[in-house]
Symmetry: C2
Subunit: 315 residues, 2 copies
DNA sequence: GTCAACGCCGTGTCCTGGACAAAATGCGAG
DNA sequence: CTCGCATTTTGTCCAGGACACGGCGTTGAC
């Protein structure tokens, strides 16, 4: 069964492209330049990648999202790379109290206790309200899940399921909050750029904005810049908010924000939030950075305090 | 401004790949073989596709989904192709009644009347119940929106907003239905393959399954095959359901389904649904095709009638 | 006459190897 | 220490060739 063993773990280039997110061109280029990956060949000369190489490729891909460059790390052993992934930025010292709750919930995610996870989160919302839930629990938990996934402690499917559960809760309670509170300006458009898939950040922002009485219009994920502009004009919004995850390429971020700012009338503000903006050295002129979810309220308050804007009445 | 006009409508090959779903290789091959598309070149020799050619490519892609072969239609004029696309398979003669409702709602989408659209849909769910809402209204409406977008009558952002509104409603009412009805087997895993983004189909299936008392575990979009397998085993599901949109590449569909079926134990059924499966001439052995949303109930009933399966008790 | 097997054609993906733009980095000057 | 410029790094694009795979029509056998 030796041969079948090899066949089982032999992966064609198209599948590797799907699994790693690295284009066929890039895979072939790395092979040419760095000598890795070094796939075998099937009888027709097509590349066949062994499973371990694909694993290493995936790891490299992850490290690149953290800022490493391929040429620097591609020669290192798998072990070294894993160790490299383990060194955390260690920028925040979270408070012990909430950290406990987060750890507990993270354990539920790992143990596949979906129903319990859902119930616990639901309970939290009812106890603390949507705002505190998002700020104190959902946001740190989402970070923790991301970290755990990155360190291989959490499978992809567990992260997907977590996202789905939180998404359901957030959408439900945003609906409630919208009905409960009187909507008033600003009217805010929310979305992300194409290829930007982090749904939770967007929903959490929407939740907080809705709690502050703003009128949110979420267009979901991946709205091309040209369409954001059309939508902002058609729906006469006051603010366009774009959520950016850390993994989103910096150049695309800057390009998109510049284009947005340039094409929209000055009366419409452009807000950028999420982990992706903190990495930027400079944001385009006239774009407001909302660096953390906790700053959303302040941003809205600030908008309302600008002269010529009725805080309560309709436009 | 002539030059800038050209620059505005000049589209690089990577963007065309994204917009049409045709791979770069295929685009270059068609150019070599059929003489179409015939893109211009930028100063560096890179292809620049004029907007009209991209529109025609998208149309061709769409016609291929209906069964046409590229070599046969690629030489026809844009007009001819539009006419060809206009002739619908005419397999269903929709009832005038519901067709009216759909048209009315479509008008709301086009007019940006979000609040009214939301209210109208909400009303429908409450009047007719979730099942009828999905089958009679949401599904045809989603198709109508897709059609309208395809024919350029609807902007991308309008489609996004529509998706978001329906998604909110469906998630909310799925939650209600889950709480209301006693959950019993089968336990069903739902997801889509990577790069498959049609969220509504998945949610509509989940809604119907939940209404039938099944226990749904949705993992959201884009779960890689390897992770689907892990998830199915970890959560001990009875059925794995994969939603496939018509735009999803055929080869990838077949590959993914085969891999799933092969890796999962025989006791776990694999169901494939959505517009993507109807285009397939043959599905891999052992995969159950649920060709339309209306067939979901029958599929579940059939599963429960198999010998050795307690319809009510826990496994 | 019916059905199966075979072979052709249309089609998409993969290959090699070369070129170059754009981003990231590092160096030096102010 | 900061800014600007040169250099390296990196990914995408190009051309043209090859070939596997699936559908369809034709042929041959029963």
């Amino acid at each position: 069964m030796r041969a079948s063993d090899e066949a089982d773990t032999a992966i064609p280039i198209s599948a590797v492209e799907r699994e790693t997110g690295l284009s066929k061109d890039t895979l072939r280029m790395w092979e040419r330049r760095y000598g890795f990956p070094a796939p075998g060949r099937d009888p027709f000369g097509d590349r066949l990648y062994p499973r371990p190489q694909v694993d290493k490729l995936r790891l490299i891909r992850r490290l690149m999202d953290q800022g490493f460059r391929p040429g620097r790390i591609i020669g290192e052993s798998y072990q070294t790379l894993v160790a490299l992934a383990g060194t955390r930025p260690a920028q925040q010292a979270p408070e012990a109290q909430e950290q406990d709750a987060v750890r507990e919930l993270l354990a539920l995610v790992k143990a596949h206790r979906v129903a319990e996870l859902q119930a616990a989160l639901q309970q939290c919302i009812q106890d603390q309200g949507l705002r505190r839930f998002v700020l104190d629990l959902a946001s740190p938990l989402a970070h923790a899940v991301g970290e755990a996934w990155f360190h291989g402690e959490l499978a992809v499917f567990e992260e997907h399921l977590f996202t789905e559960v939180v998404q359901n809760l957030l959408r439900k309670w945003i609906g409630e909050a919208r009905n409960a509170s009187g909507q008033r300006p600003p009217r805010i458009l929310l979305t992300t750029f194409p290829n930007e898939l982090h749904a939770l950040g967007l929903l959490m922002a929407e939740a907080l904005m809705t709690m502050d009485g703003a009128e949110c219009l979420s267009f979901g994920l991946q709205l091309p810049v040209a369409d954001i502009i059309q939508a902002a004009l058609a729906h006469r919004v006051d603010v366009v908010t774009v959520a950016l995850s850390p993994a989103y390429p910096r150049t695309a971020t800057n390009e998109g924000l510049s284009e947005l700012r340039g094409a929209l009338p000055a009366a419409i503000e452009v807000w950028a939030g999420g982990g992706g903006v903190m990495r930027l050295k400079r944001v385009p002129e006239g774009v407001v950075v909302v660096s953390a979810l906790a700053d959303v309220s302040a941003a809205i308050r600030h908008w309302r305090q600008q002269p010529g804007r009725a805080g309560a009445g309709p436009a």
